[in-house]
């Protein structure tokens, strides 16, 4: 009975989807409205007008910077949500049997060996977001993943020391705060929230702001991801 209902529902969803997709502008066409309207403008003027050679970076940090402002707030919301749901809940009624294996020597050695290189790569990704693929969030996630790997090897207490307790709430809020900061700088300098200077002589300011945004997103992302991991992992 349930199976029949589910398959009926799936078929009912599939038919309109397939029909509608059949009427979309053909895949890969350079003549579709999606390609000829706003994005044509971005591709044409983005590199000089918005300050980064990577047009995707232009779009997420400059043209549609407010979306990213919202996006970093979403990650912060996730952190606050995980903290709100997990922090110091009541004692477990059904404790999980936790066999604790110390990680093998191979894992420990490899992680220790690779850690500096991973960190370097992450920083490279963050700082080169405006000229190559990647950017703040990607690099931040790699840093966060490094923190997670180090937690497995060093143990949680050692790894937590990477991010000082006192600075942690500030760092967790780093990404939205950087956005608000740059936004207000734009407000005073250009007269609009998140405005970037477009004057020829001020291009270095623009690049610097873009870089600061990338660093802020990267740092905030890394700290938030590792904090979420630690909070979830600390639940036994």
């Amino acid at each position: 009975m349930k199976k029949a209902l589910v398959s009926a529902l799936l078929i009912l969803t599939a038919i309109p989807l397939l029909l509608a997709v059949g009427q979309l502008p053909p895949h890969g066409s350079a003549k579709s409205p999606a390609y000829e309207h706003v994005s044509a403008y971005y591709l044409e003027y983005g590199a000089e007008e918005a300050g980064a050679e990577n047009i995707v970076t232009d779009v997420i940090l400059n043209y549609r910077g407010f979306d990213t402002n919202g996006e970093v707030t979403v990650i912060f919301t996730a952190l606050a949500a995980v903290m709100g749901v997990l922090l110091l809940g009541r004692e477990s009624r059904h404790p999980v049997e936790q066999p604790t294996y110390p990680p093998s020597i191979v894992v420990r050695f490899i992680v220790r060996l690779l850690a500096p290189f991973i960190a370097m790569f992450a920083i490279y990704v963050i700082l080169n977001g405006h000229v190559s693929p990647g950017g703040g969030f990607q690099g931040g996630t790699i840093l966060g993943a490094l923190a997670i790997a180090l937690t497995l090897v060093l143990g949680e207490n050692e790894a937590r020391r990477l991010i000082p307790e006192g600075a942690r709430p500030w760092l967790q809020a780093a990404a939205p705060l950087t956005f608000v900061g740059i936004g207000l700088a734009g407000l005073t300098d250009v007269g609009v929230y998140l405005g970037f200077p477009t004057v020829e002589t001020l291009t270095w300011v623009r690049t610097m702001w873009l870089l600061m945004l990338e660093i802020g997103i990267g740092l905030g992302g890394a700290v938030i991801i590792s904090s979420i991991f630690w909070t979830m992992e600390g639940e036994r």
Binding site: V96, T141, I142
Partner: protein, 80 residues
């Protein structure tokens, strides 16, 4: 030629998705999900979207899988 490669990748993607759903072992499902994300990431790289591919590799295959693994280690490993 590239058309064939595309089709192979897309079929692999669908196979992975089905395997995630069918596997009774949640740990295996999480690992297959990671593979699924990586295939998706290759497809996006081929489609000229390296930024998205990179994010998917870091977030989809990396962080999401880690979160699944933590959850599985804190709850149960087998689906009933």
């Amino acid at each position: 030629m590239s058309q064939v490669f595309d089709i192979v990748l897309l079929l692999l993607l669908i196979t992975c998705a089905v395997a995630v759903i069918r596997s009774k072992d949640l740990l295996a499902a999480a690992i297959i999900f990671s593979a699924y994300s990586l295939i998706m990431c290759i497809i996006w790289q081929l489609r000229g979207a390296p930024d998205v591919a990179m994010t998917e590799a870091a977030v989809g295959a990396g962080v999401t899988t880690v979160l699944f693994l933590v959850t599985i280690s804190r709850t149960v490993r087998r689906e009933k």
